[in-house]
């Protein structure tokens, strides 16, 4: 630098939280509250029903194995999503795309398993309060999973289009926040419905 040249000080960038991540956190919080409400209702109505000595689910209707299999699928999908997130942060495009694709595939597999299982047991939605709650909780969770898979599909399309920018990184982290919530909600479904019944 030539002597005597004055350079204006560069202003430090504002340390504000990233918009997409904050927005996703708010939206995910709302989605979790939705399921929190359903779980609270499930627990409350179940306690009341059992206290009256009435039947909750019909004997043998809900098996542990399909629920456990779904839990394994979601657990694997949480790991692949962590891989996608790690790859995005370290700007590893190929691994990021593979991991995100795998996560989306596992999400589709989970939806497929759920549909197959509920067709298989053939429990009518209006059998009793328990089955209505069961279908609402599992059904809305499938919707949540579907939204996450669609979102991942869009991020993948952007990735394939070469959008490996900071925005892409934010998108992957945002979808991972939502996906972890999907997995966390399923963990509670597994415990409340498949294990505790």
């Amino acid at each position: 630098m030539a002597a005597g040249t004055e350079v204006a000080p560069v202003e430090a960038p504002l340390a504000r939280p990233r918009t997409l991540l904050v927005g996703t956190a708010f939206a995910t919080g709302a989605a979790v509250m939705f399921f929190g409400a359903l779980f609270s209702l499930y627990s409350s109505v179940r306690n009341d029903t059992l206290a009256w000595g009435a039947e909750w689910f019909p004997e043998g209707a809900i098996e542990l194995k399909p629920g456990g299999s779904l839990m394994s699928t979601f657990a694997m999908a949480a790991i692949t999503m962590a891989w996608a997130q790690y790859s995005a942060i370290h700007e590893d495009r190929v691994h990021g795309l593979i991991a995100l694709g795998l996560t989306a595939l596992l999400g589709i597999a989970a939806i497929n398993q759920t549909v197959f299982y509920f067709n298989d047991i053939g429990l009518p939605i209006d059998h009793n309060v328990a089955t209505t709650l069961l279908y609402v909780i599992v059904g809305t969770h499938m919707v949540m999973t579907g939204i996450a898979v669609l979102w991942m599909g869009l991020v993948l399309l952007r990735g394939f289009g070469g959008q490996g920018t900071g925005r892409h990184q934010d998108l992957v982290i945002a979808v991972s926040i939502f996906w972890y919530a999907v997995v966390a909600v399923y963990s509670v479904i597994w415990l409340f419905i498949y294990v505790a019944k």
Binding site: T19, G23, G36, V136
Partner: protein, 531 residues
Amino acid sequence: MTDTSLEADGATALERVVTSTDANTLGRYWLGAGSLTLLASLVAGVLVALERLDLGGAEVFGSADEIFQFWSAYRVGLVLLAIVPIIVGLGTAVAPLQVGSDSIAFPRMAAFSFWTWLIGAGTTITGFLIDGGLGTPDAGSQRQAVALTLVGLLMVIGGLLGATVSLLTTIVCGRVAGLTLRRIPLFSWTLLVAGTFWLLTLPVLAANAVLAYVDLRGRTAVRFGAEDAIWEQLSWSFSHPQVYAFALPLVGIAFDIVPVSLRNRLANHDVVLVLTTLLGVVGFGAYAQSFFDTPGTPVMYQAIYVVDAFAAALIALALFGGLADTLRRGAGNLGSGAGNRPPAPMVLSVLAMLLLLAAAAVGALRVVDPFDLLATSATGAQMTLTMGAAFVGAMAGTLWWGDRIFGKVSSQGLGLLAGLAAVVGVLMIGVADLLSGFMGQNDFTGASLAAAGSPDSGVDALNVVALVGSVLLLVGALGWFANGIRRLTGAAAPADPWGGHTLEWAADASTVEVTSERPLLDALEHAGSAS
């Protein structure tokens, strides 16, 4: 503000209306649509009050079920179709300016949220009008129409949630340098707190509605969509304590308006931050639904519900004390302005805080066991007082920020008159319904004296007072609406008619150095001391 609409592409006016993502424009949409649904809700309220004059039978409506549909339509409409959207509208237009942001976060989502809400509001109103609503399926209400109302309600909730996420993200992420969360203007702060609690509670309401809908549509309803269970599941959103969370931004409006009007600072800014947060916590009402009754003890008789009511009263009292202190310290400055009279928004915002205090006092009285008021019309009194306070606060807010939002002036006199009519109307309804509650009148009176709880004969006169109050409230809302229409054709407004202290009044917020919660006042004082 950034607008990613089709304006530049030579789009038609309709295309521009539908595709606009400008925060100010969206704010105006919310305000306009919210004021129309407010009028519709208040008409339903007047009709229900008229029906209550004679408990010998259904005179205005055809049956008790129809009365119930309109009675519940009034509450749902007032909260989710009117007051909350109006507050969201004010927030969408004002909050980005207050934090110095040039646009709202996720502008397309904000626009999508408004249109979702609008279509949902139309669907909900249609559901109510075609014999659906939240009445009893197959016992008067049409089953399909009840389902339609629930779908509309879900869209309304979805729209409000989307708009809230946009607003909160703007407040958190869009702030200019120096504007820490402690320094953001109190309207934005209360939006942040209230919005957080809306995000925590509206999904619970959505869960209730989804459950009722699925049950209603799934062959034979087993419980959630049957008989009176639908309203039983949803009613917590329209009564104590949840209504405090919906009304909370009125506190921010009052605390933004009063110090500027009196040209002084708020003595305890941090205390107000804490108190408004506490009021938000107290207003978390998702637990107060009948599903969480423990055997032998309904949730309304449990300690948390009672403590909640008294805590709300104490917080409202403390907040009003803070406002009164500001009024006391700044009273001497009133005469130094353009006139000796206090500005209309200041008067209305102080009255709104008084109404909130009255609502919280009624809420506390309601849970005192010996009075036995929980199932009585005192419940309606508390709801109307709280939402009425929020409406009067919103009236003050639109008078205050209206010049900035619309760029045109309105009549302060008409605004004040409309506000005073609304205040008197709300007070008349509140006091009459509280006293009727003491005399044993049920919250929902049905069409007969037996359904009304066979109250003391004195309630007849009180029901007349409540009817007059309902009409006055409607007149106030009409005046407010007329003033809004008049504003559209009014003269151009000055950039800063009040000598504002916060960033929404700055010509260019990015050039203002923010060192406290009142940066423009700081700059003015700094310039004064330098000269």
